[in-house]
């Protein structure tokens, strides 16, 4: 191709949209905000600036998805999550470019972050049918009973994704929520939401049922407040909230007795072994007593 022909090719800009209830709507408010390169300040794209009504709609979609997803077998959830990793693997180059732009990383470091994200997802996919053995079990009791504890999903969890790691961080907070059978409403990193919005496309082309994951972009503080106060949200992951905002949100969430996961005091190392803490944060323990037969 000659140089003149290359120059005549007009680039096709991507309209980034929300991912809510398995669909890709614009913000109900019609608002967008400019997303820029953190290094040069170059304009990258317009992202939807979600309103509290988008948050409400996302919660409705998530609630609708809870019975099906939490009722699916753990094995089936593992298969679906593994499928997500497959789809993500197939779009590594796109995500490497987006992560490089979003976080101002070199190509090789961005590619490494995407690979780590795929691996992290596979790791959590494997946990779906194993967490019950870790978090539950048979309890010895002083009586002729089988006493069994089993972990069950909390329900709808609102997740404030970490601000500094746009894909690996997102995957690290989202995967444990849905691996355990919850439905998630995710508020993407405020200044670098594009990889998260593209991740919605990966989820849509996997077998994740509509509404299990809902991804919003916009001002974290604006979206977090209605989610924290929402009576139909059962858990709140404050990972991406600044310290003072996190306190306000926790106070607000206390009114409806939500499970709250506080942000780490120091910046988290997303490449480190995550452990099972994020899995067990969104589980409720159900204990049943059953009489032992003769």
């Amino acid at each position: 191709m000659k140089v003149s022909e290359q120059q005549s090719r007009l680039s096709v800009f991507k309209t980034y949209k929300l991912y809510v209830g398995g669909k890709f709507p614009r913000s109900e408010s019609g608002r967008v905000y400019e997303v820029t390169d953190p290094k040069g300040g170059r304009w990258l794209a317009n992202a939807p600036l979600s309103s509290r009504k988008d948050a409400r709609d996302a919660v409705v979609a998530a609630r609708k998805a809870v019975p099906g997803w939490s009722g699916a077998t753990a094995y089936n959830r593992g298969q679906v999550l593994y499928r997500v990793a497959e789809m993500l693997e197939g779009r590594r180059e796109q995500f490497a470019r987006e992560v490089a732009e979003a976080e101002g990383l070199s190509k090789s470091r961005a590619a490494a972050a995407v690979d780590a994200a795929v691996d992290r997802w596979v790791w959590y996919a494997g946990w779906t049918d194993k967490i019950a053995q870790i978090a539950g079990g048979a309890n010895p009791v002083a009586g002729p009973f089988f006493n069994l504890s089993t972990p069950e999903p909390t329900g709808v969890v609102a997740v404030l994704a970490p601000q500094e790691s746009s894909l690996l961080g997102l995957v690290s907070v989202l995967a444990p929520v849905i691996a355990t059978g919850n439905a998630a409403v995710v508020v993407a990193a405020e200044r670098s939401p594009l990889p998260a919005l593209s991740f919605g496309e990966v989820l849509a082309s996997s077998d994740v049922p509509a509404g299990v994951v809902n991804i919003l972009s916009g001002r974290t503080a604006e979206l977090a407040a209605p989610l924290a106060a929402h009576q139909d949200v059962n858990g709140l992951d404050l990972t991406g909230a600044a310290a003072d905002l996190a306190v306000d949100l926790e106070v607000s969430a206390a009114d409806t007795l939500k499970r709250v996961r506080r942000p780490a005091p120091a910046p988290e190392d997303w490449t480190a072994d995550p452990g099972t803490g994020r899995l067990t944060a969104w589980l409720e323990t159900k204990t049943v007593w059953h009489p032992i037969g003769v």
Binding site: R63, A229, H230, Q231, D232
Partner: protein, 350 residues
């Protein structure tokens, strides 16, 4: 449009004032139009003489009215008004007396955490549950008992059975009767048969002797718009029912695929408006089926206000046939009063 008919028949009726369809003067007003209902041929001529419906215009108008933004105090007013207009309905084969009693309790006090919540307009049940609902509501609740009758929802039984069904519900204490028309007769052009049937059912709504002797249960006539196929048919059916003495006209049973839609309800609202202009009798409208969200309900209220005005913005003249709508209205009401979004965990499971 229909004002032409108003002029043509203006000489026949005295238009001194508007009277309610269930008032003592309504039959006299309708008698002024006796010539159009004198024979099958005259009735057909009249109904087919009604102007055709501009379907595109109707749908555009209904969609346009659905775009109004109703917020803050206006929204609070609309939500309370909508709650007070609900015919809280349970029409399932599996209805039990316990379920009907629970529904009555909910109708009286939709949100027990907020005594300022208005009660619903009526409880709508099958005829055999009327007595249960009547007893559960008591005498002073201000809530009516509505009963579907005439072999709801199909209406495919002989007329004596329909009349017995109606009389039975009235005797059991129903304040309102929701009858279904014979769609088979209407669609095959036997308008007079439909007309006479509505009249006969209206007669059956009259309470037998006793303290309330002579008074009658209000009659709502269900068209089942989804089965009438065309907008023209809905307009004809509206006039037919109003000429026959319907107190309310109702879109549908809620038992078929297409129920109340904004266009077909708008069409009925226009028919009611034109009927009042022509005859001087005010008839109510009840959309039923498929109205599940506060947003939808408010769209209907906007339509009523813009088409008919204040006169119809009361539970006496406009009703919603609904069951799940009430929960959504209550959640919206809670959102307005507390500022935080509510959830289905905070309303009853019906």
């Amino acid at each position: 449009m229909v004002y032409r008919y108003a002029r043509r028949y203006a000489g026949l009726v005295t238009m001194s004032s508007v009277v309610p369809a269930y008032g003592p003067d309504a039959p006299g007003r309708l008698a002024g139009l006796a010539d159009v209902t004198a024979s099958d041929a005259a009735l057909r001529r009249f109904l087919h003489g009604l102007p055709g419906v501009d379907a595109v215009g109707l749908e555009a108008r209904a969609a346009g009215l659905g775009t109004r933004s109703i917020k803050t105090t206006a929204k609070a007013y609309a939500i309370d008004l909508a709650i007070s207009m609900i015919d809280l309905t349970t029409l399932e084969g599996s209805d039990t007396p316990g379920k009907v009693r629970a529904l009555c309790a909910k109708g009286r006090r939709p949100d027990p955490t907020d005594p300022g919540t208005p009660h619903v307009a009526a409880i709508c049940v099958y005829p055999d549950m009327v007595a249960v609902a009547r007893e559960a509501l008591g005498e002073d609740s201000g809530i009516s008992v509505a009963s579907v009758a005439t072999a709801f929802p199909a209406g495919r039984v002989a007329r004596p059975v329909k009349l017995a069904d109606t009389a039975d519900a009235v005797a059991a204490g129903a304040d309102e009767i929701d009858m279904v028309i014979d769609r088979g007769a209407f669609l095959s052009g036997r308008y007079m048969e439909v007309f006479e049937e509505i009249r006969a059912v209206k007669q059956a709504c009259v309470r037998p002797g006793g303290p309330e002797g002579g008074t009658a249960a209000h009659l709502k006539v269900i068209f089942e718009n989804g089965e009438l196929s065309t907008y023209d048919n809905i307009r004809r059916c509206s006039w037919l029912a109003m000429l026959a003495g319907a107190d309310f006209i109702k879109t549908s049973t809620g038992k078929v695929a297409v129920n109340a839609t904004p266009p077909n309800t708008l069409l009925m609202l226009e028919a009611v408006r034109d009927f009042r202009d022509a005859v001087g009798v005010q008839v109510g409208v009840k959309p039923a089926g498929g109205i599940r969200t506060s947003k939808d309900a408010i769209k209907y209220l906007v339509m009523v206000n813009e088409t008919l005005g204040d006169d119809w913005l009361s539970p006496d003249w406009f009703r919603f046939g609904a069951s799940s709508l009430l929960n959504d209205l209550l959640m919206q009401r809670q959102k307005l009063s507390t500022g935080r979004y509510s959830g289905p965990d905070y309303v009853t499971v019906d």
